[in-house]
Symmetry: C2
DNA sequence: AAAAATCTGTTGCAATTGCAACAAGGAGGA
DNA sequence: TCCTCCTTGTTGCAATTGCAACAGATTTTT
């Protein structure tokens, strides 16, 4: 039932069905690896990931790939946010796993409802929650990318990953090293070199994708 | 009248006054250069810039400054978004100009109003707009920082600045070069060197802070 | 108006990062 | 099983970036 989704959290079946139609929403499925949106002529259309995961990927003129964002369930995307493809680079959203995506126009969501239904304001509330999540995850992205060296980009990323790991579980890098380098926006072999250094100095332990950080707490701020 | 603010857009005087109290909001003033929040123990408190502008700034262990975000009027900030100060770095929000800031807790904004006032849902709607703006500006930030070289970080920043410039006006860099380097997260003199190169090759013209870009459109994607 | 502070612009040298090439280790399909 | 494709890991060399120092310009303060 595509009417049931995170945007309609807290709303009963009948209203869900009604609004789904009223807002001109649609749900589409995509196979892993396929392109969900190429960010051209989408206007204010917003995509919300109901199931699966996806990545916002950019290829520049030289073919260099950059993973701008990774989107899990509840992730949202659209031309409205992401800087669009331009003459200098090509941006697309690619399904990582099989995906189910809800599409809706921003203008539809915000239109003043003639019937002033309470459920409409609940939708706006839910949208606020999704948008807040997006802002938080973009902030993390900025935190990582604003680091000046590969080493600190990596450490910053690993720390954030650690914090997201459930209590008692071993933190795990969600990518292959190759993909990680595209995510940190650095050269793969240079990243590999930094990983080797951190391992050698005992700061980092990795087996497969599971890792452990032991930071040296000298030379730090008192807070 | 602090009751009138962007969060209360579309709401009449009486309700503004009532909600301002009901939500435990407060408005504070800050002098240019002063520290608005040091991101410690703020919990879910959110700041909204009513007047003035501010920057979210990080200093690392070596004293290197990074401008994580710049916030104009309607900009929002809080520990909830920005990665907080840690043992390795210190984050604060600094007023660029004299500021008037509205503080409110996220939990207060989202609490189910017993009186189910229509104006409350309008506040949520306004908040969604502010949050969307934040997501958009963070996306731009990622766009710039994800570039691999100083040259492309600079060009990407200048292009975005151009696009924001009102029709007919000359685009203008909003910072000094020194501050710009902290915003692009690169070394100042290396940035200066790249600017010199672009000037020499005729791609970039700058006088004071006004600039003009003439990009060479070879080797580009057809879109 | 003089002094102080800040910003711009440049440069040589050092450190970091990117690039290319290659060997070795899975994973999955024919 | 063998073969292919993809990822990991390493390295020498080249290019980019950071650092430090300094001179001149500009702005702010006294």
């Amino acid at each position: 039932m595509p009417e049931h989704n995170i945007l309609f959290k807290g709303i009963d079946d009948y209203d869900c069905y009604r609004m789904f139609t009223c807002f001109n929403m649609e749900v589409k499925k995509f196979r892993a690896g396929s392109c969900i949106s190429d960010y051209s002529k989408q206007g204010d259309k917003i995509g919300i990931i109901l199931k699966g995961s996806a990545g916002v990927v950019r290829y520049d003129v030289n073919g260099v790939r950059t993973i701008i964002e990774t989107l899990g369930e509840q992730g949202i995307f659209g031309e409205y946010f992401t800087y669009p493809s331009s003459a200098r680079n090509y941006v697309e959203v690619v399904a990582e796993k099989d995906c189910e995506i809800l599409f809706v126009r921003r203008s539809e969501l915000l239109k003043r409802c003639e019937k002033a239904c309470t459920c409409h304001s609940r939708v706006v509330e839910n949208m606020l929650e999704l948008m807040t999540e997006k802002a938080v995850s973009l902030s993390e992205r900025v935190e990582v990318l604003s680091q000046r060296t590969i080493e600190s980009k990596l450490i910053s990323f690993l720390q954030i990953t650690e914090e997201k790991t459930a209590e008692g579980k071993t933190p795990q890098i969600p990518f292959s090293t190759t993909v990680l380098s595209d995510y940190l926006c650095v050269n793969r072999s240079a990243l590999q070199r930094e990983i080797a250094k951190l391992k050698k100095s005992g700061v980092l332990t990795i087996s497969k994708r599971k890792f452990k950080l032991k930071l040296n707490h000298e030379n730090e701020f008192d807070i």
